[in-house]
């Protein structure tokens, strides 16, 4: 188990606070730029100087992407240090994942707007989504900076004894929460894409790329957990109750996913119903398994 000291927590929290504040300024920049760009693009006018200013928008999203990664590590460090999961932690993880995925949606939408503007197509449908995503980023960053500032103060006030925990349960629990959130987002996305694909073409690559993106936050938490466990023997990764909970959840997930996937198989390959779903079974299986496994592990683990 890697040792966690207060200096590391303080350093990451301070970095998150500073980066969060800078990101908020970037958001303000993006907002005012969109406000100027929108009427010009909708009327197919000349962008002029705005074109150069718009280049910085890409930079702002690249910066935000990095902020989300740092924020993720910081939030995990907070969980490990304070060893408490409060509702606010779950809210910020939920918002953080949505905002993180939003950064990629922003990239995609901005790319679409740029291409459609050049092709002379209407982009009025894209702008509201862009503004909603800006709002989500803003709420997340405000909450993140507020929590970071509060934790810096707590760290300053509380110079008490630090306890090294032999078996850390916080990252284990956090991984289940993140798995549950990513699983649900992925399921909603898969079902939405399945519905859309009945009328519009949804490419295989699009489906694959989006599924991978949705899994990134879960992958990062699991990677962090692996780093923590790197020096331990595999048999010591879980304590015996965690082991039992993981086995039970894994078995129940298997039992539930088989009939669900059988139903999907029958629907996809039934000529009378004819649902176009050849791209969806694998993401659907992954997200169903992840959701079930995470929720069942949480239920078993928290069983009182």
């Amino acid at each position: 188990m890697l040792k966690l000291n207060k200096k590391i927590v303080r350093l990451f929290t301070l970095a998150t606070l500073v980066l969060g504040v800078i990101s908020l300024f970037w958001l303000v920049y993006d907002y005012f730029l969109y406000k100027q760009l929108k009427p010009v693009i909708l009327s197919f006018g000349e962008l002029g100087r705005l074109e150069q200013l718009a280049e910085f928008v890409w930079l702002s999203y690249l910066f935000m992407f990095m902020v989300h990664i740092v924020a993720g590590v910081t939030l995990l460090l907070h969980l490990r240090y304070f060893r408490v999961i409060r509702p606010i932690n779950i809210v910020i993880v939920l918002l953080g994942i949505t905002s993180f995925l939003g950064v990629f949606s922003d990239w995609a939408i901005l790319g679409d707007i740029s291409k459609e503007y050049e092709a002379g197509w209407d982009t009025s449908g894209e702008w509201p989504i862009l503004y909603i995503l800006l709002g989500i980023h803003a709420v997340f960053l405000l909450l993140l900076t507020g929590i970071s500032a509060g934790i810096l103060r707590r760290l300053k006030e509380n110079d008490g004894e630090e306890m090294t925990v032999q078996k850390d349960e916080m990252v284990f629990t956090a991984a289940q929460y993140v798995g549950l959130i990513c699983g649900i987002i992925g399921l909603v996305w898969s079902l939405f894409a399945l519905l859309i694909s009945q009328r519009l073409p949804v490419s295989y690559y699009h489906m694959l790329a989006t599924s991978i993106l949705i899994l990134i936050p879960y992958g990062l938490v699991v990677l962090y957990w692996f780093i923590l466990k790197f020096n331990e023997k595999i048999g010591e990764w879980y304590d015996e109750k965690q082991c039992r909970d993981v086995y039970r959840s894994g078995f129940m997930t298997l039992v539930v996913t088989i009939p669900v996937m059988l139903a999907l198989y029958l629907v996809i390959h039934n000529e009378k119903i004819f649902v176009k779903g050849e791209y969806f079974w694998f993401p659907f299986l992954i997200f169903t398994s992840l959701t079930l496994f995470s929720v069942l592990t949480l239920i078993h683990y928290k069983e009182k």
Partner: protein, 68 residues
């Protein structure tokens, strides 16, 4: 048959030991100690001995069988 235990009483008798401190002492998570205390999880023989050793008591004074 169920397995009962005196872990909670022993924690207080031996000087207000927290669940976390006991968990650290025997190498499990706090949640595991909590579940054992509540009778929701039956520990392995090894863990039962570790807990007894932590309290410096024989195993049968920490754990007992509830006949039902």
């Amino acid at each position: 048959m169920k397995l009962g235990n005196h872990i909670r009483r022993l924690r207080f008798e031996k000087g207000d030991i927290s669940q976390e401190a006991l968990a650290n002492g025997v190498g499990v998570t706090r949640q595991t100690i909590h579940s054992i205390e509540k009778g929701k999880f039956v520990p392995s023989a090894l863990l039962a001995f570790k807990i007894a050793l932590f309290f410096d008591s024989p195993v049968d004074q920490v754990f007992y069988i509830i006949d039902k």
